[in-house]
């Protein structure tokens, strides 16, 4: 017997019962949590790759001329070093702009000396041994140089991001389990009310898989509808939140966008719900039938 005929035995049960609603809500929540987790993951990765190979050289010297000389010398030395990919002096105007909120517009440069900054990209991670070798390199010509790994300042931020990632993952797992349990219960109760129908078709000579298919289809249909609604809701929420973050214009948050693979993963959430629903229907019906002769 072909599958399309199976659905006609007992026509598609209409959208009664809690299955579509349960699935819609669970899928929406799971999509939002998963989107948060994926965005944090992207953010962490972008930031990590940008910062881990980065080091900052500060020339903390009050005399402008000496500061400038040491900066020039450091830059020249750094550029020759084999571990350094690139090194660039951060223009003073940019620093001023960055500090403007604290120092006020047109602050007297002589009164408040601002250190010269050199942004260094290293070929590999900025380990302590790496930094030490740079320190000895600069020690003679630029005694005022201080070298720090960029990631060092951001370590607390990274650990916060990684806890948030674990939280998002835990939420997705919990929501997934809850959805599975809710779908399981809803499918079971729907099948409970159809016990009589199952038994009648069984006694009329319906095979187990013929009967299971009837319910797989109707439960799968309900789940697909609920899943689509939930996905739409979840994506709208993710999109709106995404726009708000994008509106912040912060370089840090910009790294937290979702790639197309992430969107595909989110779209798989309702598919997963449908699979659980259909499997539940099958297992439940087959179980009920096995108790009959």
């Amino acid at each position: 017997m072909r599958g399309d005929r199976a659905s006609q035995l007992v026509p598609q049960a209409r959208l009664a019962g809690p299955i579509p609603w349960v699935i819609a809500i669970m899928v929406a929540l799971t999509v939002i949590a998963a989107a948060g987790g994926l965005a944090l993951n992207n953010l962490a990765q972008t930031a990590q790759s940008e910062l881990s190979g980065g080091a900052t050289v500060q020339i903390v010297e009050a005399l402008p001329l000496e500061r400038s000389r040491q900066a020039q010398a450091s830059l020249a030395l750094l550029l020759q070093h084999p571990a350094v990919v690139s090194a660039a002096r951060v223009p003073d105007e940019e620093l001023e702009q960055l500090l403007e909120p604290w120092l006020g517009v047109g602050a007297d440069r002589e009164a408040v000396p601002i250190p010269a900054l050199i942004d260094v990209r290293l070929r590999s991670d900025a380990t302590e041994t790496q930094l030490d070798s740079l320190r000895t390199l600069l020690a003679e010509q630029a005694p005022a140089a201080r070298i720090d790994a960029q990631s060092a300042w951001l370590r607390p931020v990274f650990s916060a991001i990684s806890s948030l990632q674990w939280l998002a993952l835990a939420l997705v797992v919990l929501l997934g389990l809850t959805s599975a349990a809710a779908v399981w219960l809803a499918a079971r109760s729907a099948l409970g009310t159809n016990r009589n129908t199952i038994e009648v078709v069984h006694l009329l000579g319906g095979t187990d898989s013929q009967i299971a298919r009837i319910f797989q289809r109707s439960v799968g249909f309900d789940a697909a509808l609920g899943g689509a609604a939930g996905l739409a809701l979840g994506l709208i929420a993710v999109f709106v939140i995404g726009r708000q973050f994008a509106g912040l214009g912060s370089g840090m948050v910009a790294g937290g966008g979702l790639s197309w693979i992430d969107w595909v993963l989110l779209a798989l959430v309702p598919a997963f719900g449908v699979i659980i629903a259909v499997l539940t229907a099958r297992v439940t019906v087959m179980g009920a039938l096995r108790r009959m002769l």
Binding site: M1, R2, R5, Q8, L9, V10, P11, A13, N196, T197, E199, V200, V201, L203, L204, G205, G206, T207, D208, Q210, M292, L293
Partner: protein, 254 residues
């Protein structure tokens, strides 16, 4: 094997108990021959429904042997039973119509289970609806049908597949005497086409309405055979099987 030869059903020392209760059927042995019409009588609670459930493969006996169309169905794997069930027509005592299907779809169910194409089943289902006088109620759901109408749908569903064996549990319980007679005529017509018919009833008046019928009587789970006919093939098959055997079914009481 032609359906006219051999036995349709043979019970050999069948016993049935539910759980650990005492047996509701004990030492039940009989043979049903193709093309015969049987009544199963007995007081309420005598075990008629239980015996029919064994007949339509809803239940395994606790002991004894059952063969159906020449095959031992006790040892048969579960997966082979649907093919046997499709050769049966069953009128359940409580009808067991599918509540969200119309009268038409309920009657079409056995044909669809058997895989008949939609284009092929509209005709037979409509004919069947007409035969039980429900053409105008074709699209009604069971809940909107009267008890008698539901029963007629149940009967139509049981006979539409032209079963080799028709099993009916109190099929005239909810209809007026006139309709009861009409339904019996339907069973007889089917019987003439070769279907073996077993009708369980506690209504002894019904028995006289089918003159050629054979009678099985259940009393507290034990089968008696007041006419003695069950020990022998029925009259219509006599010539084929044993022309010299006596014909005891004309005497006796029940």
């Amino acid at each position: 094997m032609s359906p006219r030869t051999g036995e349709t059903i043979a019970f050999d020392n069948v016993g049935l108990r539910y759980g650990t209760d005492r047996e509701v059927l004990s030492d039940v042995s009989f043979t049903l021959y193709p093309g015969s019409f049987y009544f199963l009588t007995g007081a309420s609670g005598a075990g008629k429904t239980s015996l029919l459930r064994l007949l339509y493969l809803a239940q395994r006996p606790s002991r004894g042997g059952i063969s159906m169309f020449g095959t031992d169905v006790i040892t048969l794997p579960r997966s082979r039973l649907p093919a046997f069930r499709r050769r049966l027509g069953v009128v359940f005592q409580d009808f067991r119509l599918v509540p969200h299907l119309s009268a038409f779809d309920n009657i079409a169910l056995p044909l669809r289970v058997a895989g008949m194409r939609e284009a092929d089943l509209a005709g037979p289902v409509s004919d069947m609806l007409e035969w039980v006088g429900l053409t105008s109620r074709a699209h009604a759901r069971p809940a909107t049908l009267s008890g008698g109408e539901q029963q007629r749908v149940a009967i139509a569903r049981a006979v539409i597949g032209r079963p080799d064996l028709l099993v009916a549990d109190e099929p005239t319980g909810n209809v007026d005497p006139e309709m009861a007679l009409k339904l019996l005529r339907l069973f007889e017509a089917l019987n003439r086409l070769g279907t073996t018919v077993v009708v369980a009833t506690h209504d002894v008046h019904l028995l006289r309405k089918v003159p050629d019928s054979l009678i099985m009587r259940l009393d507290k789970g034990r089968l008696s055979d007041p006419t003695g006919a069950l020990r022998y093939p029925p009259r219509r098959q006599m010539s084929d099987i044993d022309a010299d055997a006596p014909l005891p079914r004309d005497g006796g009481e029940f």
